[in-house]
Amino acid sequence: MSLAGLEYTTIKEISGPLLFVESVRGVGYGELARIKTPSGEERRGQVLEIGGGVAVVQVFEGTTGLDVGKTRVRFTGETVKLPVSNDMLGRIFDGSGRPIDGGPRIIPDDYLDVNGNPINPFAREYPREFIQTGISTIDGMNTLVRGQKLPLFSASGLPHNAVAAQIARQAKVVGSDEPFTTIFAAMGITADELRYFRDDFEKQGAFDHVTMFVNLADDPAIERILTPRLALTAAEYFAIKQGNHVLVILTDMTNYAESLREISAAREEVPGRRGYPGYMYTDLATIYERAGRLHGTKGSITQMPILTMPGDDKTHPVPDLTGYITEGQLMVDRSLHRKGIYPPIDPAPSLSRLMKEGIGKGKTREDHREVSDQLYYAFAEGRSFRDLVAVVGEEALSARDKLYLQFADEFERKFINQGLYENRDIDTTLDLGWNLLSVLPETELKRIDPATIKKWLPKNRGKNN
């Protein structure tokens, strides 16, 4: 028996983003509520708890202007759904899914539950198709694959937007002309930042395979709970129903987490670290795990969440819990940025967990793994002498150590550093790696098999071919 349609004016309490509605009957957990403000505006909310005749409703558009008495609430008997269709491409929606680009309404092909359903792990196909981003530190050392969730860990004042835009611009699967369908979800970013992405998509004429869901810094904070879920619902529609390869950019997840914290505080839950709720890991997982490939479907969802680390601290709960869920991270580093290196991605704390299956013979190149390992080793070794040099001076170093020191500098300048529009293919990246390594004596290349050295070391190459 559904009592959907009944309108309640029995609001007992309004607390932060929450409404407490009394004497309700037949209302289900998680249900969508429609709220009419005294001024006649309609807002949407979701039931967070139900019991004793009281429904606790979080209002996505915020409770400003709501009152006890004239505000009316209707429960719909349904969970929150997103109307989806192929016509969403090239369109811009607000953080609750309403068009804001002046275009026509979407004629839905289907209505999908924005919370999705968990993917059966047995249904997952392990991601292993190399995505070339044209950025050496990513392709060479932290390779991205189709269906991966790989966040950018950044901080205020760092060029993460430029990096994300460059990835979106250049990402392709070698040997395939299929463009990525890009779903862009903005949570609490500034209008400038949004314009940056929008202009970039338009400049390349790519906007017709982009869909944007936008909640800006001055839009209601609680709506940000919904925005990434809408984006992922659209992504699932394109990937599963339409068979597209989808790239989802979620920015900024730190703002999302703050909204989550706000609701938790309003519910007077026991706070976890830094006031974030104890269930934030699970909540974030319900977003990040909506990526991957499935057996029997053609499409894929690759996720690139962006988050800013408060105080550049990667142990802050947002980056920390993200890192525990995603399949690696790309660390945007302030000291590289200060040195004028772009993209300032530090390979050491970065990681791509899915790299191993995405590289090698037939995918990138047979020497990829070994070159990458050796570059990691050499860069870490070279860097470790920097502190020492600061204390005892360069003269105190052995000849070997000096070589490594020099390698680290060169590596930053030539390998990490590249142009905003420089698109290096994987061969260029790996060859660059070899060139840098060739300043070291061959006996130092312990991470590389002698046979690989024989074939690929620049000075040997001419001899073989």
Partner: protein, 589 residues
């Protein structure tokens, strides 16, 4: 179809519901919640009100809907057909769920964990009129190429066999015999059930004096775990917990592996499912999937089932232990399990303890790890089985002072401490050699002496000593520069570098290096320590250290981990000879 009067939902808050009219309900009883019949378990009773944790998503559930009691506690099915399967946290087969509902997990489905239609070849090993007690074997079934299931008298029964079937093919639901028990005649099946929150019985605990060999050098050599032992592997994200657990699941010399993916990534389970059937057990030559049971309750699956998954896993492990197998259980990650407890406890409005975890966190962890051990199992014959537990811990911010890590360290006997700096340098496994420990080394010494040789323990002490000295010397270098070191101190740094880079580092992705047998471990460390002696001799004889480091044989030692185990003894012999020859050639005595 339950004979109990259904209760009525009064409140829904996420994974927890409260139902009224539940008089007579029991703690931990399984119930079906709402019109969709979601599976749940009673976790609190107040008069006629029961609080239920629901193992499935509760969206759309309304107050007023019914709650049906089953009269039974949450249980698993035990019998042939478990090995090689992938289950969710409450033992629903994910393979069948996939066939039924496609790639997404839908709600309200009950699926039999064990295929009731499949016939198994049962070989009876008991006779009519035999007197049997709990745990006695009445027959066996070849479950996979690696596992023979012993069909046992259930743990609460004993009596006289009144009939037993002939050798032949039977389903798990067909009786294979009958027992005249004190309570009356009971049919005997291959399939039995067991409540997951109750530990299965055994006769007595035995000392854990055999190592669980893992093929991972830093573990087997420095920080071994015993069969029946407990180990914990805490580390920040990306430091290698899952890789280490998967390496153990692949290569450890246990007969049965139970791998619990508790609140972690879906793709990691997919990886296990894709790779394990292709990987061959180095001892038997059979696919390792044939000894593996997977429990997968990933981070996006309902949180209450995550809480249950650990119990489901350990109960299955106990079942195989009771047959006399050495079982190893990996739980990745126990932190997610603890978080599930925290969330449920929060919804119950219990008084929070440290960092919001319930006050009973420590005792739950202890109870779980206590279900490990090497034991003499039930039955009138003498059989020994063991369960080793390896639990990953994911401390927030990588800070080991948090409650889950600390409470686990009070129980687990081996601590593999993962180090963020090592991981950032791509030194894998990133187990810190200075802060890790194993409390089994002494008790295992006898075994090493007998199985490998007396040198093993001595070499371990010597190598550890060198690593410790190395650490002290490095601090000096950081303060005053490398010039301050004497030649013999530089020797220590060079040897320590070899131990770290040529021995402790082990590439999981390299087929020649991913698994290292005990003989190869022994010979590898011996080569390094011999090199160390040569360096010391050089210093005594005033030969410049650099000359020793430039010996051609050094390059071979640097790469020795890639030499196959079969060729290693002859390789080691040749290297020893060359080392001495080359040393003489530069004037050494």
């Amino acid at each position: 179809m339950s004979s109990f009067k259904p209760g009525k939902i009064e409140r829904v808050a996420g994974p927890v519901i409260v139902a009224g009219d539940m008089l007579g309900a029991q703690m931990y009883e399984v119930v079906r919640v709402g019109d969709q019949g979601l599976i749940g378990e009673i976790i609190k009773i107040e008069q006629d009100r029961a609080t239920v944790q629901v193992y499935e998503e509760t969206a759309g559930i309304r107050p007023g809907e019914k709650v049906e009691r089953s009269g039974k506690p949450l249980s698993v099915e035990l019998g042939p057909g478990i090995t090689g399967q992938i289950y969710d946290g409450i033992q629903r087969p994910l393979t069948i769920l996939f066939e039924k509902t496609g790639p997404f997990v839908r709600r309200g489905l009950t699926l039999p964990p064990i295929d009731k239609g499949k016939k198994w070849h049962f070989v009876p090993t008991t006779k009519s009129h035999a007197t049997v007690t709990a745990g006695d074997i009445i027959g066996h079934v070849k479950e996979t190429s690696l596992i023979t299931q012993q069909i046992m008298i259930p743990q609460n029964l004993s009596g006289k066999i009144t009939s037993i079937v002939n050798e032949g093919d039977y389903t798990v639901g067909e009786p294979v015999g009958e027992l005249d028990s004190p309570g009356g005649p009971v049919p005997l099946f291959m399939l039995n059930t067991w409540p997951v929150r109750t530990a299965r019985g055994f006769k007595r605990k035995l000392p854990s004096n055999t190592p669980l060999l893992t093929g991972q050098r830093i573990i087997d050599f420095f920080f071994p775990i015993a069969k029946g032992g407990t180990a914990t592997i805490p580390g920040a994200f990306g430091t290698g917990k899952t890789m280490a657990q998967q390496q153990l699941a692949k290569w450890a010399d246990a007969s049965v592996i139970v791998y619990v993916g508790c609140g972690e990534r879906g793709n990691e389970m997919a990886e296990v499912l894709e790779t394990f059937p292709k990987l061959v057990d180095p001892r038997s030559g059979e696919p390792i999937m044939n000894r593996t049971v997977l429990i997968a309750n990933t981070s996006n699956m309902p949180i209450a089932a995550r809480e249950a998954s650990v119990y489901t896993g350990i109960t299955i492990a106990e079942y195989y232990r009771d047959m006399g197998y050495d079982v190893a259980l990996m739980a990745d990650s126990t932190s997610r399990w603890a978080e599930a407890m925290r969330e449920i406890s929060g919804r119950l409005e219990e008084m929070p303890g440290e960092e919001g975890y319930p006050a009973y966190l420590a005792s739950k962890l202890a109870e779980f790890y206590e279900r490990s051990g090497r034991v003499e199992v039930l039955g009138s014959d003498t059989r020994v089985g063991s369960i080793s537990i390896v639990g990953a811990v994911s401390p927030p911010g990588g800070d080991f002072s948090e409650p889950v890590t600390q409470n686990t360290l009070r129980i687990a006997k081996v601590f593999w401490s993962l180090d963020t700096d090592l991981a950032a340098r791509r030194h894998f496994p990133a187990i810190n050699w200075l802060t890790s420990y194993s409390l089994y080394t002494d008790i295992l010494d006898d075994w090493y002496r007998k199985e490998i040789g007396p040198e093993w323990t001595m070499m371990r002490k010597e190598a550890m000593n060198l690593l410790q000295r190395d650490d002290e010397l490095r601090e000096i270098v950081m303060l005053v520069g490398p010039d301050a070191l004497s030649e013999s101190q530089r020797v220590i740094l060079e040897t320590a570098r070899m131990i770290k880079e040529d021995f402790l580092m082990q590439a999981a992705y390299n087929p020649s290096d991913t698994y290292c047998d005990k003989i190869k471990i022994d010979l590898m460390i011996k080569l390094i320590l011999d090199y160390h002696k040569i360096m010391q001799k050089a210093v005594d004889e005033n030969i410049p250290l650099q000359k020793i480091l430039d010996l051609p044989v050094k390059i071979e030692i640097d790469r020795m981990r890639l030499t196959a185990a079969d060729n290693f003894p002859s390789f080691a012999e040749r290297i020893e000879e060359e080392l001495n020859k080359e040393f003489k050639s530069i004037g050494g005595k």
